[in-house]
Each structure stands twice: as C-alpha cells, then as structure tokens.
C-alpha cells in the first residue's frame, strides 16, 4: 500500500473498503464491525445513526445541489434499514471567499429537504478555512432516527432465491456529474438525487423484505459485490431486465464507463422473498420515485461471494468490485 492516500481510495469499491478497514481496526469498540458495515448502526434499541461527508464538484447540478444531496444521502442510509430519519447534524467546512449567497442557497436547499422529511436539525458546526484548504465547501451530515419496523433488515437476512429489485434506473447521478466534469451534452438527464424514505417506507409492512441498500458511490455493481461477500451468497442479475436511461447509456459509451459502477443518489437495491416480488413492485411503482422499479435478478446459493450478470448476448460476466476511481478510457 502506498504511503500517501490516493484519490482512488475515495471512489467506493475495493480500495475504499480497505481504507475503512484500516481506520476501524484502531478502535477497540466499533459498532460498525458488529453490524458488518451496513449503511447505519443501531446504537441502542431501535435508535440508529449514520454519518456522511459531501464534497461533490460541481456543487449545483441538474436535479439537485450539494445541500439537497447531503440530506438525501445521509438519510437514505437510515431509510434502507427501515429507520425514519428524525434528527440531523450539519457540519460545514467553508473556504474563504465562497460567495455568501451560494452558502445560503445550499443551506436552504438542505433545510427544505429536512422539512419535507419531518426531520429536525439537532446540532451544527461551521469552520472557515483559508483559500485553497478546501474546494469551496464541504458538508458533513449525521442522521439519527428510530426503526419503525421490528423486522431486522440487512445483509445477513439475504436468502438464496430472494428477488433483487431495483427501485429505478441506475447511474443517473454519476452520469450527470461525469457529463458536467468532462464537458459532455447530458441530453436533458438529471441526477436522481432524492430522499428515499417516503418510497422505502411503503415496503416495510412486507413480511418477506430482507435487505435494502442505496446504490451511491460505486453504484449498483459495488452493492451487489458487498452483498455477495457480506452474505456469502451469489448475486445474479440480468442485463435484459436492467433498463438504462438513454443518456446514461450514451455518456457511458463515450467515456467507456460501466453503468453498473456509476453512482445513484435516489436508487435502492431491494431483496425480498420471491413470493413478495409482485407486491413489492406494485408498492414501489405507486410512488413517483419507484415508477421504473424492476425485478433485475436473484440471490443464489451458487458461486458464493461473487456477483454476476447474464448479458444480452446470452453470456455471463462477473460484476467485480471496482478498484480505484472510474476514469475515462483513451479510445
């Protein structure tokens, strides 16, 4: 391992997992280890907590902004474990010279999203650093809430035969950001950035609901790998069932990106007992965020620890944990 931290270690996937492991092992007691690195941890009874940093560039993008993203991103980590987001803390690191209007615009956006969720700002912090010490502004959000279901959700509840359902088409946030960064036409595409609680809450009454995860950094592919490794089961999806927004497909084509690894910010992978598939899809499709929900694959006992995809061509490929940051190909 290199002596210096590289950008690739922040991109989700294998290097990020190694970085996190090297941090956690220094703590004698860490609930994160106990819960097998799920999105949030139950700290006492049904009280759960998660924390997340936000450094997106550009800060404003079609479909959202960093304030909106910060609240959605942190609360989605609670929502996927059946936890209603109730309290938030907001830490801000602000670079000297940031226009005040921009700061307020981002904060108001975060506040609007908080209000929509019925969550309260419980604590906050501001730090201003000299020009050059951070790029414009960074957010850190900690979210707390109580589980509204007594049924435990998580990777260790995955079972062979479970249906894998994706709540919407994947990769839209990552594709928008890539298009902006590399100066490509995004063809009207918007980030899918959204708070998932109102959508996922609809699924909580289902008896056969086993596990949910939002496909953020590292995308759907990384979630599938983490589930396969975490549960010691196989994950199999079908390319034919995986609908892509045409602009996501086009942006990936130009940059040589694999849409499976592009970040989503309002898209969840859901595993439930096969008998609940239709029920789950019907509930998701009733909500605007779940209109494009689709069954994309199944959990298998075969090839434990690995994720794979049946391709349109009728072949089979591995969906591997990405290593390092996603970079455009040469040709």
């Amino acid at each position: 391992m290199s002596e210096l931290i590289s950008l690739g270690e922040g991109s989700g996937g294998r290097l990020t997992a190694d970085l996190i492991a090297s941090v956690i092992k220094n703590f004698a007691a860490c609930d994160g280890q106990k819960s097998g690195c799920e999105d949030c941890t139950f700290i006492e009874g049904n009280l759960a907590v998660t924390t997340d940093g936000f450094t997106v560039s550009p800060r404003f993008f079609p479909g959202g902004d960093m304030g909106h993203l910060a609240v959605c991103g942190a609360t989605n980590d609670l929502a996927v474990r059946g936890v209603r987001p109730q309290w938030l803390t907001l830490g801000m690191i602000i670079e000297e010279g940031l226009p005040r209007a921009e700061l307020l615009r981002l904060v108001r956006s975060a506040a609007r999203q908080c209000e929509a969720l019925g969550a309260t700002l419980a604590a906050g912090d501001t730090k201003v650093v000299p020009r050059g010490a951070c790029e414009g502004m960074f957010f850190n959000v900690t979210a707390l809430g109580r589980a509204v279901t007594s049924r435990p959700l998580g990777m260790n509840h995955l079972r062979p035969g479970d249906a894998l359902i994706l709540s919407t088409t994947p990769g839209r946030h990552g594709a928008v950001i890539a298009a902006l960064r590399y100066g490509l036409d995004r063809g009207g595409l918007k980030s899918d950035c959204a708070a998932l609680w109102p959508l996922l809450e609809q699924l909580l009454p289902l008896e056969g609901l086993h596990c949910m995860r939002d496909c953020t950094r590292g995308g759907l592919g990384t979630v599938l790998c983490e589930w396969a490794e975490g549960a010691g089961l196989g994950m199999e999806i079908e390319e034919e069932r995986l609908a892509l927004h045409p602009s996501v497909a086009a942006i990936c084509d130009i940059l040589g990106f694999d849409p499976l690894y592009l970040a989503s910010e309002g898209c969840a992978l859901i595993a439930c007992a096969p008998t609940e598939t239709e029920n789950a899809l019907a509930r998701l499709r009733c909500h605007p965020l779940g209109r494009d929900a689709a069954l994309i694959g199944t959990v298998t006992a075969e090839h434990a620890g690995l994720a794979g995809m049946k391709t349109r061509l009728g072949g089979f490929r591995i969906v591997d944990m990405p290593v390092g940051e996603i970079l455009p190909r040469i040709c």
């Binding site: 590289s6 100066g183 940059l255 009728g314 072949g315 089979f316 290593v323 040469i330 040709c331």
Partner: protein, 360 residues
C-alpha cells in the same frame, strides 16, 4: 428476432470450432477487450477456442520509462501534465501519475488533445504537457493539437509523444515461431484510419486469419465467426466485419495529418521490448513542441520486472496462470505486470474468470 440471431451465431461459432484443432485467437484492441468482458462473450466461446488480449491497449504497452518521464514532467514546478484518464493509474518505476498527483504533481485528465489549448490559454505562466499515447486512433488528435498550437502561436504547450503503430507489433507476433495465435480480431477504430490494406501481409505472408470487428458484442461475435471460418477453410485473408465503421481505404485525411506531424521511429513496448519503426516522433517544425527537449526531461530507463512474463502472454506463448507471479504477487489491486494493470488485460480478465470456477 435478436435472440435467434445470437443463438445461431453462437452455434455457428461452436460448430466452426469443432472443425478445427484447439485454436488461439487474439483481440488486438483494448476496447474490444472491455466489450468482450462486458458482453460476457468469453463465456460463449467454444472450449477449444481461446481468446487472448494482444498489444493494442495503450495502457498495457506504454513503457515504464515513458510513464516515469510523464511523472517527472508532472512533478516539475509550473508544469501541468495532461493525460487521457486511464493512463494515470498505470505504475511506472516510481509509482503512477495518480500517486504523483498525491505528492503534489499537477496532473489533469483531458478528454481530447485539443482540450489542452484552452487550459494553456487560461494559465499562460504554466507549461502544459500533453501525454500523447495511443495508436493511429488518437494520433490524428495530437497532430491537430500541434497544428492548432502553431496556428494560434500558443507558447506554453508541449507534447510527450509515445504514440505507437499497430502493424509492426502484429508483424512481430506473426513472425514469432512460437506464437500460438491463428487469428487476429483487428481493431475497429485504428482500421477506420489505416484501412484494410496494411494488414494484408499478415494473411498473405504469415497465414494468419484477420477480421476487423466493431465494438458491440454482436459485432465481435460476427468477427470471431469469420475468423474461425477462415481457419477452418485454411483461407486466411482480411475481412471487414465492421463495414458500418471502417472503409476499405481508411481515412486518408487523418493519415495525412499524422504524416505531416510525425515520422516513424523505433519504440519500446512494455512487455515486448523495442520494435523497429513501431513508434512516431515529431517532424520539424513541430519538434519545437517536444516536451523531452523543452523541459530537458531526464532520459528514463526501462527496468525489467523480475519474474514478470507479460511479454510471453502478449505474444500468445503463455497463459496467464502459468506465470509464477499470477494471483500471488500480481493481482488487480497490486499489479506487477502490464497485463494485470489494465483491469481487462489478459491477466486481469483471467484472474476474474478463474474465480467463477466451472461456471465460465
């Protein structure tokens, strides 16, 4: 209808393969390698047909010394190194460009060579070095950058040229008496520039089957069928299985651009060594923009990696697991050789498939 076309194409492939001895094919282009991986094509190949990744991925073949020179440029004060994205994680002797950036080097990812000009105009005090890698596909872009730099009189752009030509490497493989490769899946993008004629020597002199393929799984499947058909009928020739993208005579305008700015020279390939006339160097007056001269970059040395047998893998002499480093000292997380560096290079691909056990 699509399903029936595909299943019959896969069936044709299997039937053709049954009529030959075990056969090794090579896809030359890195983009083919990626597409083959993503479309799951490898899992559809008949058992006696092996598909190796050849020397057509700039990430794999750019020499360690050249990466080290790029790193040296990026580490100079007031110099920004502009690179295509996937070059920046390839390790040289002293780490990768990404690591150089972590140490404070100025590394910028560009989508196109011409993106360098606006950067240079915005920061006239800084020298912008374009790391010009790739084959005939990306060379015309570099030529355009050079011409625009001249035309606009931009003084702070230079070029670190590491462009390569595909054909000399293919000839080297074809001449190798030990090579197992019986058919080349030829690169679609390069062929759209150079056309079909340069490949004819491979079929005529070396009796190797050739097919230019497109980049969709279906198009690659078609090209593989035409390769096997040539092998079965013992009639090697150059087939254009990508007529929608490649014209027989290529793109004369792009070739003229290349000729105006560059001339052939010997070049060092990672894993393959020096190949005669396989590289390009700047012609006057564009040699004014040579970053090596302008920035007085120290000459870098290629140090062989102990135990690495990528050269033999690239020549089709060795299957990746036969290398002692494979999967132990050399993995995608900690790659030693170039074929493991590119995540879809021969060794990288093999590493993954092996883990699927009997499934693939």
């Amino acid at each position: 209808m699509r399903g029936s076309f595909l299943s019959s194409a896969a069936q044709t492939l299997a039937e053709l393969a049954r009529r030959t001895e075990p056969v090794t094919l090579m896809e030359v282009c890195g983009t083919h390698t990626v597409s083959i991986f993503r479309s799951g094509l490898r899992s559809l190949l008949p058992e006696n047909a092996a598909l190796l990744s050849g020397p057509g991925c700039p990430v794999c073949v750019t020499s360690q010394a050249d990466i080290d020179q790029a790193i040296a440029a990026a580490s100079l004060p007031n110099v920004a190194l502009c690179s295509y994205g996937d070059m920046i994680r390839v390790p040289g002797r002293g780490g990768s460009l990404r690591e150089a950036a972590a140490r404070g080097g100025d590394v910028r990812v560009v989508m196109s060579a011409l993106d360098v000009i606006p950067l240079a105009l915005r920061e006239p005090q800084r020298e912008f070095v374009f790391f010009a890698v790739g084959f005939e596909t990306t060379t015309p872009q570099t030529a355009l950058l050079l011409q625009e730099t001249e035309r606009l009189g931009v003084g702070n752009v230079s070029v670190l040229v590491e462009h390569k030509r595909v054909l000399p490497a293919l000839e080297l493989l074809a001449q190798d008496p030990q090579t197992g490769v019986k058919g080349f899946l030829l690169p679609g993008h390069v062929s759209s520039i150079i056309g079909l004629e340069p490949y004819e020597i491979l079929a005529e002199k070396y009796r190797i089957a050739c097919a230019v393929g497109g980049f969709e799984g279906e198009q690659i499947l078609l090209a593989l069928c035409t390769l096997l058909a040539q092998i079965v009928h013992r009639r090697p020739r150059v087939v254009n299985a990508y007529p929608s993208g490649v014209r027989c005579h290529g793109n004369p305008r792009a070739r003229a651009l290349i000729d105006e700015c560059f001339m052939p020279c010997d070049s060092v390939w990672r894993g393959l060594g020096t190949i005669r006339m396989s590289g390009l160097k700047l012609r006057a007056p564009y040699d004014r923009c040579d970053a090596r001269v302008k920035l007085k970059l120290p000459a870098a040395v290629n140090t062989p990696i102990p135990g690495c047998r990528c050269g033999e893998v690239l020549r089709g002499r060795l299957a990746p697991p036969q290398c002692a480093l494979f999967g132990k000292d050399c993995t995608p997380q900690e790659p030693v050789g170039p074929c493991m560096v590119s995540s879809e290079g021969s060794c990288g691909a093999w590493y993954r498939y092996g883990r699927m056990g009997g499934r693939l």
